[in-house]
Symmetry: C2
Subunit: 357 residues, 2 copies
């Protein structure tokens, strides 16, 4: 059989549906995605050869389209209409056809400058999310640096009344959590000072999840009469640490949803609903790979209301390690290279800003 001559014959191809897509077909798919993203209208063979110089005639492109449709990469709303990429088509585009489009130097300067103006953690997050929304013209989501990854900078105890303490936990990312503690008996200033010193001595600099383990035996160090109070404080502290679900998220750019498509109310409603559910957003970001950028397209997203959207997300961190995630939510029909470029750039700069402060 003449097949033998081909280096990538069927038998050794591990990507079964890819083989029939030779270079030109991929180029056609890329062109379709690009055009559709631009015009928001099904794209036909003639328009395609006019805008991109593919070097072949519309008829040829039609054949390729036919094949692409066969494979499920594009789809036709009705006979005698142009083609629209499917989720699978976008996936292929993102994986093999698109380059992340880097920000230009002036853009990068602007990002950096804007973020540097922040005065505290809240402001950093607020600025980041606004910036991201503006750059991508989509909905941006930024998660506050998470408790699990960060370390204890300081633990403070304040006596409000003899039996009522306030516990303040400060992390290296600048986050502050405070709780009230009701102690079973009066707590003297001496005990308070000792407890404060020991807490900071033992737990200072530690990762938050490790703190309970480290402090486990602390009550034993104190006088029997004081142990109840110490335990109460510890219990509250551990509770604070454990409440990881208290992770906060900030959102911006919801007005951009209005640029979603023509069939508004139906599409936009579930998205708005999803955006109000912190849980959904957290899960969305939680599924992001730690190191590299994650793109989820349409039905790849577990949450049903977001099935007509795509999510581009990435971790960001103050050092080499990521402490939280951020991302963008937009229509599946979005400018992936541009969006990915913006997301990556913003994540990098927030990381730098956090590391500096």
């Amino acid at each position: 059989m003449p097949d033998d001559g081909k280096p990538d014959g069927r038998l050794i191809d591990t990507r079964p549906s890819v083989r029939p897509l030779d270079e030109r077909r991929l180029a056609v798919l890329r062109a379709i995605v690009q055009d559709y993203v631009g015009t928001e209208e099904p794209v036909g063979s003639k328009a395609l050869v006019e805008r991109h110089n593919l070097g072949v005639s519309p008829a040829t492109v039609r054949n390729d389209m036919s094949a692409l449709e066969e494979e499920g990469y594009i789809h036709q709303p009705h006979t005698s209409a142009g083609r629209i990429p499917t989720d699978k088509g976008y996936r292929l585009f993102v994986d093999r056809l698109a380059e992340v489009k880097p920000m230009t130097a002036p853009e990068r300067r602007a990002i950096r400058h804007f973020l540097e103006g922040a005065v505290d953690l809240d402001d950093v997050v607020a600025r980041t999310v606004r910036l991201l929304a503006q750059l991508t013209r989509q909905v941006a989501v930024v998660q506050y640096p998470s408790l699990t990854r960060s370390t204890v900078r300081h633990i403070e105890l304040v006596a409000l009344t003899p039996t009522k303490l306030m516990l303040v936990l400060i992390t290296n990312t600048g986050r502050v959590e405070q709780r009230m503690v009701d102690c079973p008996g009066a707590v003297g200033e001496g005990l308070l000072a000792e407890l404060r010193a020991r807490l900071n001595g033992m737990a200072g600099g530690c990762r938050l999840p490790e703190v309970p383990v480290i402090l486990e035996d602390l009550p034993a160090v104190f006088e029997v009469s004081d142990r109840a109070a110490v335990s109460a404080v510890l219990a509250t502290l551990f509770e604070t640490l454990a409440e990881q679900n208290e992770e906060r998220i900030m959102l911006a750019g919801t007005a951009n949803l209005t640029r979603f498509g023509h069939d508004f109310p139906l599409t936009i409603r579930p998205v708005l609903e999803a955006l109000e559910e912190q849980v959904v957003l957290l899960r969305l970001l939680g599924e992001t790979a730690d190191s590299e950028m994650t793109v989820r397209i349409g039905h790849e997203i577990a949450y049903e209301g977001l099935n007509s959207t795509s999510v581009v997300s990435v971790g960001y961190g103050s050092g080499d390690q990521s402490v939280a995630k951020l991302g963008v939510i937009g229509p599946t029909r979005m400018d992936y290279p541009g969006t990915m470029g913006a997301v990556r750039a913003v994540a990098r700069y927030v990381g730098q800003i956090l590391a500096e402060s």
Copy 2:
């Protein structure tokens, strides 16, 4: 002239445009508002007499409508269509024709129960705003108890490094603000303790805006060598107090915007944009009267993007005095009595919850 017999003749009427509207006309206006709010469609004379038993014929109602239109209370999208209330019409409806619809007993119980489950201030606000959005099926806004009205419960200073302090301000409403302070020189533990004691002694229990006045001369009490550090701390404290624009707001129910009307994208876009501007929302709530419920309708709202909406807002507080505002934003075509009832009820219960905690 025969006019003399009428007790409310022109000369003593201080509401010029109201006189010609006798009882029945007002009833017609009320009926129009009610129907339009329900159906979202222009309401005609025939439908009106069918649904409400006005005791007169459609022709009569038509005359009344004509008069109402003359006065600017209703308006016709085009000849041979029904009538729609104008902003002025809604205004009259709210002022003179509508009763605030009280919540039913089970509803009140549910509200109370739901709010009682809150664990801290954040949670109270979060629950309140969700509840309000759900009850009214509109966009709800709740302002965090404001700094200006609240008092100092405690001020804490924590040395992070010899020259870097952390200042924590705790208010009686449970709100906590923290700032970093860079001191010009090292701050000893003794100085820190004295400063802490004096700050709390002098400012504890005071209203926040009064604090700067009270502490103005504090540096003079300390050794000359320490004054720079004290001043630095005070500067940061005053800054924190002054940042009233840092007032926070929580939002819920934006998905309800999709029920806004048919002409979506145009209406909803500016609203979403407005909702992302904390400043706009704060001003909106800021214009709320302290004690009573405020209703602003359509063009009565200063911000242009919200000209097709109405805002129902009211202050709430932990005691007799209001410490913050909350409210609802919806289409001018909204159920005013019901919305006002819900807003009032929720405000009352949040107040109670805050007072208890």
